[in-house]
């Protein structure tokens, strides 16, 4: 049997993307938790360029970058496909996945920065929500993937779960249900999917960890 290892670090949304894809397809794997302040020699060997998680190692061969990993998983294990088969529909899905990838770092910046930098991040997040509300969820779809979740839904996970937690302890208010009704429905639907619901990081724990990280980052900036 093929050996599959996933190097991750709680509560990275990019790692959760990969966990959900593996569980949706029923693929067994070994999970290795990394301490990002003390990265293992193995992680550095498997991802020398970026030195980041997630890294998927399949039969000793590493795959890095969460979206690259998701596409690899979808191609090797085609059950419960995560992308449309029609080339144009797939191009549209990939567009939104790239959009999510380009914009998600601003969600992290909300807790990693303050002052003007944080304001810029908040503006980028708001514009991202506007674009998704106005262009990606038209047509009354339950999920970006239609009746079932697909890679686009997974890619927007930071909007569904991480944003709310970060808003909570930073006091920012970017997502408001009445301003983004389609997104609001999508978030409820996405978090009700059993594989997602059973594998979401605990909000209180996450809040405590990210809040502590924020304090350390801002303290080291001013020192």
């Amino acid at each position: 049997m093929a050996v599959l290892k996933l190097f991750g670090a709680w509560p990275s949304p990019y790692v959760f993307r990969v966990i959900w894809a593996l569980k949706l397809k029923g693929i067994p794997y070994e999970y290795i938790e990394e301490d990002l302040s003390n990265k293992s020699p193995l992680l550095l060997q498997y991802n020398p360029i970026h030195k980041k998680v997630p890294v998927l190692v399949h039969d000793g061969k590493p795959i890095c970058e969460s979206t690259v990993i998701l596409r690899y998983i979808d191609e090797i294990w085609p059950q419960n496909p995560l992308l449309p088969t029609d080339p144009h529909e797939r191009a549209v899905a990939l567009f939104w996945i790239k959009f999510a990838d380009d914009k998600s770092p601003f969600i992290s910046k909300l807790y990693r920065t303050d002052g003007e930098e944080q304001q810029v991040a908040a503006k980028e997040c708001f514009e991202m929500l506007e674009a998704v509300e106005g262009h990606a969820l038209v047509g009354g779809k339950k999920f970006f993937g239609g009746d079932e979740i697909n890679m686009v839904d997974i890619a927007f996970c930071s909007v569904a779960h991480w944003l709310g937690v970060i808003e909570g302890f930073t006091g920012l208010k970017i997502f408001e249900p009445h301003k983004f009704p389609r997104l609001n429905s999508w978030i409820q639907n996405f978090k009700s999917v059993p594989v997602i619901k059973d594998n979401l990081p605990d909000t209180d724990k996450m809040s405590a960890v990210l809040k502590r990280r924020r304090e350390m980052l801002l303290a080291s900036k001013s020192s």
């Binding site: 360029i49 399949h58 061969k61 795959i63 890095c64 970058e65 979206t67 690259v68 990993i69 596409r71 690899y72 191609e75 090797i76 080339p87 144009h88 797939r90 191009a91 990939l94 567009f95 790239k98 959009f99 674009a131 262009h135």
Partner: protein
Amino acid sequence: MAGELVLLDFWPSPFGMRSRIALAEKGIPYEYREEDLRNKSDLLLQMNPVHKKIPVLIHNGKPVCESVIQVQYIDEVWHDKAPLIPSDPYQRAVARFWVDFVDKKIYDLGSKIWKTKGEEQANAKKEFIECLKLLEGELGDKTYFGGESLGYVDVALVPFYTWFYAYEKCGDFSIEAECPKMIAWVKRCMQKESVAKSLPEQEKVYEFVLQLKKLFGIE
């Protein structure tokens, strides 16, 4: 399968050049439409409402946005000629990783080289060369990143060569001196008609950069 194909583009855009090369490699006829970015056409705004950017590939009236997605789309739809993306899933993942690396690093660092001065420019030059060296490492002894034929990474990276002269003049350094293997690879790519006819002259791009510097008040 062929149908109507339009590429909305802007001549110095390295992103637009990627799609031009992919279409040329496969010998696919298409209509090239030059956009004036200070006066974007209604068609562009309609076809790419989220970003309002070029390039946009319009196939039978349906838009494909983002150059890396266009190259993948072109490769999928016209799969019988000159395949660009590896057929092996692991090699495909490696190619996607490096295209992502090019996208994350090369354009932004290059922009910093011509837009900034002093320490910021020096740091950008240093990191730019480091990135090119990493790419040289990935190329190894291969003819192209794709092996014996042009591949996904080649198509994604070679357009930035047209901006190297501008980077060198603005940054006062020689890319060939630091990364001779990279320049040797570029020269091999330029021997291919699909690449040579899709790329503008470096001097023309440098003139364009000088105009931009004037426009933005950058010395």
